[in-house]
Amino acid sequence: MEGNPKYHSLDPAKCIGCTHCMKACPTEAIRVVNGLAVIDDDRCVYCGQCHRVCPTHAFYVVQDDLAMIRSFKYRVILFPSIMIGQFPGKYSEDQIYDGLKKVGFTHIYEVEQPQQVLIDSINEVLKDQETPKPAISIYCPAIVRLIQGRYPSLTENLILRKAPHNLAAHFAIERLIMEGAKREEIGLFYATPCIAKIAAVKSPVGESESIADGIVNMNQLYNEVMKVISDKEVPDHSDQRRNLSSEGILWSLTRGESCHFGSRSIAIDGINNAVRFLERLENDQIENIDFVEMRACDQSCAGGILLTGNRFMTVERLERRAKRYPAAKNIPAETVRANTEELKKKLVLDPILPRPHFIFGKDRMKAMEKMSKAQRIVCFLPGIDCGACGAPNCHALAEDMVNNRAKMSDCIFLQQMWEGEGRITPDKAFLNVQKKWGTDRFKADCNKRGRRNEGF
């Protein structure tokens, strides 16, 4: 299996090797080794739960150097509308756009501009009898990866239409070329609200190559804009938004997609909610639903880990903003694009294949042996999922053991028992724990977590 590239990582100087991220991961992709969290990139779906729960902010998101934009003549920033929503209400859209220009971009595109083209295209897929129902949106890349890995049989329900950022990228290139730019002079940069979108832009699923030249993390861009933003009158940039519709602005919010499709549709936000729903869907216990919108973050993209504003305030600002914009169908097609047909063709994704990563090896007999062994091991573990072994729960530890990634003695309960029975020496037991949790774990340290009243 081809490994996932690294789009997030953690700072060993900040990681205190606690168990928060390991416990929060919906795919059990994290283990603690030598007192540090380690991410299994093959299992990771880039949902960002680990970032959210980390008490020391040890996780960071890789990104491109913002200075690289200078090497292009035309510097396009593509960003989802959600970006606007997080700014304090006192800054107008033009002031934010003006700030982005001051940061160094020459062209500003909110990605949800030619939204009607996408709505029409998705509706075509839904009308097609061949598409298994419910059809599932590919909008949230963390959900796509979750389905590929954990619910492989549902990959055929995914709607093979690109996300707004791809559409906007094609659209921006087209427009600039019409204005006389050469393709190589255009630098496309995507401002991302989360890690999953970085992965979707840098190593897309169902596309042969990435369309953007670089990625800017939205929190960094927010800080850059806030440094230069003016609260005085600024030039009018509304021509850059002339294709923006109220549907486009609401697209990245919960129900932003589902309200357009099918006679019966469902919208789910939050990765754990998605997991519960997908379990039922896979068991065929969901009836008569045509369309499912699913986003990994609570409040969808407004809850993205790279957003600065409060998610509920962001939603509120966007909802107010959407009221001032026209409906997508009222934006004349010719302003969107001269050649909508060609754009429609570009919208189609290649099939998205399953990537099951919870298999105990290819040989079924061996896999069954391993599973039976893991089940027997669980009988001896305490079953309280304390995480002190460096695995998220007793079952995961048992699985790690049969895959030769952990030992019986990693369980501190078993170790205690063996010490009592005289099967291992206290020194050896101590060394075992040090191996998992690092040598400094037992030292008195007045900066340790909890020391500064970090409870509630």
């Binding site: 049989s153 068991n283 399953p354 105990f360």
Partner: protein, 136 residues
């Protein structure tokens, strides 16, 4: 490999637990998605039958190299006429059960459709034994 579960009659909230657990195991064994789906549908229907009609029951699942055997044994009213119960749309479910969205009379036909072998033995006022086998 053997898995056992117990089912409480009338507990619709927890119906589906055994089939979900079995699904997890089959996925880890790398069984084909379509086969898993059939097994899970058949087992879920069978579980719901126990919940909807019986007082209590047990599920015993045996997984071998090339097949899965699911045995559901319940203590309950039993099925007086199995042939009639096998007909699509035939149901003895109570109004309460129907209001919860179950009891459409598709349970047994759905099980038959999704399993390779289905054997039902029943004794009125004692209980029912359902054995299903699916081959991988």
């Amino acid at each position: 490999m053997k898995l056992t579960f117990s089912i409480q009659g009338g507990d619709f909230t927890n119906a589906g637990h055994p089939s979900s657990e079995v699904k997890k195991v089959l996925k880890q064994l790398g069984i084909d998605g379509k086969t898993i789906k059939n097994i899970v549908i058949a087992l879920y229907e069978a579980e719901v039958n126990v919940v909807a009609h019986a007082w209590r029951g047990t599920v015993t699942v045996e997984i071998d190299e090339n097949k899965i055997t699911m045995l559901l044994e319940d203590e309950g009213p039993g099925i007086p006429d199995i042939e009639l119960a096998m007909q699509a749309g035939y149901s003895t479910a109570s109004k309460k059960v129907r209001e919860m969205g179950f009891g459409a009379g598709m349970g047994l036909p759905n099980m038959k459709k999704n399993t390779d072998e289905l054997i039902i033995e029943s004794e009125v006022d004692k209980g029912t034994k359902v054995k299903m086998i699916n081959y991988f």
